[in-house]
Amino acid sequence: GGQKDAEGTQQEAEGKMIIRIADQVPNLITPGVWDGQVFSLNSSIYDYLIEMDAETGKLIPALATEWSSEDGKVWTFKLRKGVKFHNGTVFTSEDVKYTIEMTQDPDMGHLKKEDFAVVESISTPDDFTVIINLKEVLPTFMYQMTDYHMAILSSEYDYDKLGESAPMGTGPFMLKKLIPKESALLVKNPDYWQPGLPKADELRIYFVPDIDASVSMLEAGDVDIVPQISPIIKKRLEVSEGYNVVSPYQEHRYIAMAADREPFDDNNVRLAFKYCMDPEILGKACQGTFEKDIYYNETPLLNKHEQYKDIPFRGRNIEKAKELLAKAGYPDGLTVKFYYASDHPYGNEIAQTLKEIAAPAGFTLDLKGFPRDIYLSQYWMNEPLLLTGWGGRTDPSMMLTLAYHSKGPWNESHMNDPEVDDLISKIKSEIDDLQRQKYYDKLQEVFFERGTVINIQVPYLVGLSNTVQDYRQPVTMITQLKYACLK
């Protein structure tokens, strides 16, 4: 830490505040077609219509100053005036229209294509108003605009060609230099619309594939921020002075039990597996400590979601699990392959712990850990027992449609329950908050009873040197580095 301070003062002397970040992922930045991980770079270059407050989870205006919908079908966004892209062009409603239309570009394979398929038409009555007509009622539509894929792009810029080498938006920082797979230099956007922001003058982002190397850099004072560290590294940083490990939000680790595959097509087996769970041990394995209220449930929701219904934990009961297994026709236990991404944080910890705690009931888990790309391309969605990492969603309904509706594109547990489908559609289109919460409660009860998911929630971890202040990252995963500063 001491070394770092010396350098910090040196930078002060130069009068510049430079924040340095070690990111694990290579630079891949074209909006819409990246796997949502490289946030420090993108979220600094681009802006979004709506931001989420990292503390409260409330939506706050960004490029859109207001948004409203009477019926949940027609949405009006009022845009901020006087915002300029880095290349000097003025931000207008055309750009928003372009950004949304891009999701439907058949050549691109935009990752939000599904979500924006409901958009019927977009009109731009003036330069700073956008009206979006939906095909159906969707009271939560505005949440889509907080998604990290929905960075606002300039309609006049050729992203196809320049997106990777010279990305450009309205964001707080401008890309000055990019050495692919090595580093990126971003400088303050002097014309940023938010007064006083960004606080830092420069961002230096290093792409370091090895997390240990990144953390070593943090320890050596070569960087200030290391996002996405693993729990074991948290343990390492915690014992020394000079660093903070923060967990800005929770992520899901879903254990998906395919409802249409042996052996989990039998709810008894699913229940038996659930009876093996021990949130305390899982929590300790992942975190070293146990915080019961956050970590575990058997529904798709985060415990932190306000829609979450606090169903009491069923308790670990091996006898019961054995009994259920016997009922399902496995009196002598059974062997299942358990697929997961071994290079994803918590993957190994959860997998190994599950193997251990499920064993007494007769589950023999055959662990199959793969690098994330292989896991996703080969096994995900195809195997009966999976561990998948999902980022949290601002609104739980987004997750439900994608992953638990029988027609959801990423229905990894092959959930095919008419009641669930029905509840999901009702949740999506219900405008009344109270009524919607009732549907949510019912849905969670159904999941507790016969759901296909075990939801372990783990903190997303970021290592910071303790000179870093105001590191903000809401559950949208977008790093709001414009607020960050050095002491």
Partner: protein, 276 residues
């Protein structure tokens, strides 16, 4: 036999190597039955406990697993894989090298070229690609990959050994008895090339231990919770500062086994020279 003992007496290092090797073999066979923990058992109340504390001889790792137990169990997989890879790559190497050297000419040229190409690919790149194709890092697939990566080198050694024997007149004698090529290659020549080949096998043994460990480092090693030594180092390398024993002891285990095998291999080559 007697000369073997006398040679041993002269080579204390070889004795050391053989003793360590025997310890590991013993540990692999019988070690687990003496342990009070299994390699997966998690002592969640004592994560990263110091060696000696709470009845954990070499401490525990981040998941509260007994490092000693994992090392002992780990000797099994590492010995198996290393043994199998050295065996496979030598069998394949002998087959290829012998065929190539024995028939010579065009076959030889093609085989050599292919081996050159395989050797030109960095073994780790090769391994990662092939692992990707095979899909799963099991003991079997790892064995296969490491064998593929090491086969060209072994084949070259085997080819060289064959060529040095091929000129011997007993081969000519066999030819004019009209023996089959197979007989000449594998019955007449093979036993006489076993010296350099054995030296090569033992050397490969050490290398495969390292390569498997390196694959683990790159995230494509054996599946957890297999207590693979290389993987133990990798799993815990992040906490080397806070819980150095979790890295130190598995590293020592790797080093001791590799050194032991190398000392043994040196000794084997000495014995081979002496036999001549």
């Amino acid at each position: 036999m007697k000369t073997m003992f006398l040679l041993l007496k002269r080579n204390p290092l070889a004795v050391l190597g053989i003793v360590i090797l025997f310890i590991w073999i013993f540990a692999a066979f019988f070690g687990p039955s003496f342990l009070s923990y299994t390699y997966t058992e998690m002592d969640m109340d004592h994560q990263m406990s110091l060696p000696g504390e709470y009845n954990h001889l070499l401490g525990t790792d981040a998941l509260g697993r007994d490092v000693f137990a994992r090392i002992i169990y780990g000797s099994r997989s590492i010995l198996t894989v290393a043994l199998m890879t050295s065996l496979f790559s030598s069998i394949a190497g002998i087959l290829i090298g012998f065929t190539s050297g024995y028939f010579g000419g065009l076959i030889d040229m093609i085989f050599l070229r292919i081996m050159d190409i395989v050797m030109a690919i960095p073994p780790l790149v090769l391994a990662m690609v092939v692992l990707g194709i095979l899909g799963d890092s099991t003991i079997f697939s790892l064995t296969l990959i490491v064998s593929i990566a090491y086969t060209p080198a072994t084949a070259r050694v085997a080819r060289g050994a064959l060529l040095s024997c091929k000129g011997n007149e007993y081969v000519d004698a066999a030819r004019i008895r009209n023996e089959s090529h197979f007989f000449i290659m594998f019955v007449e020549i093979l036993p006489n090339t076993i010296g350099p080949v054995i030296v090569e096998i033992t050397a490969r043994f050490a290398y495969s231990i390292m390569m498997i460990a390196s694959l683990g480092f790159l995230g494509v090693g054996l599946q957890p919770p297999t207590p693979d030594w290389g993987m133990m180092v990798i799993e815990n390398k992040s906490i080397i500062k806070t819980a150095s024993w979790t890295v130190l002891y598995p590293s020592l285990a790797i080093a001791s086994l590799v050194i032991a095998v190398s000392l043994f291999s040196d000794f084997v080559s000495k014995v081979m020279i002496h036999e001549k």
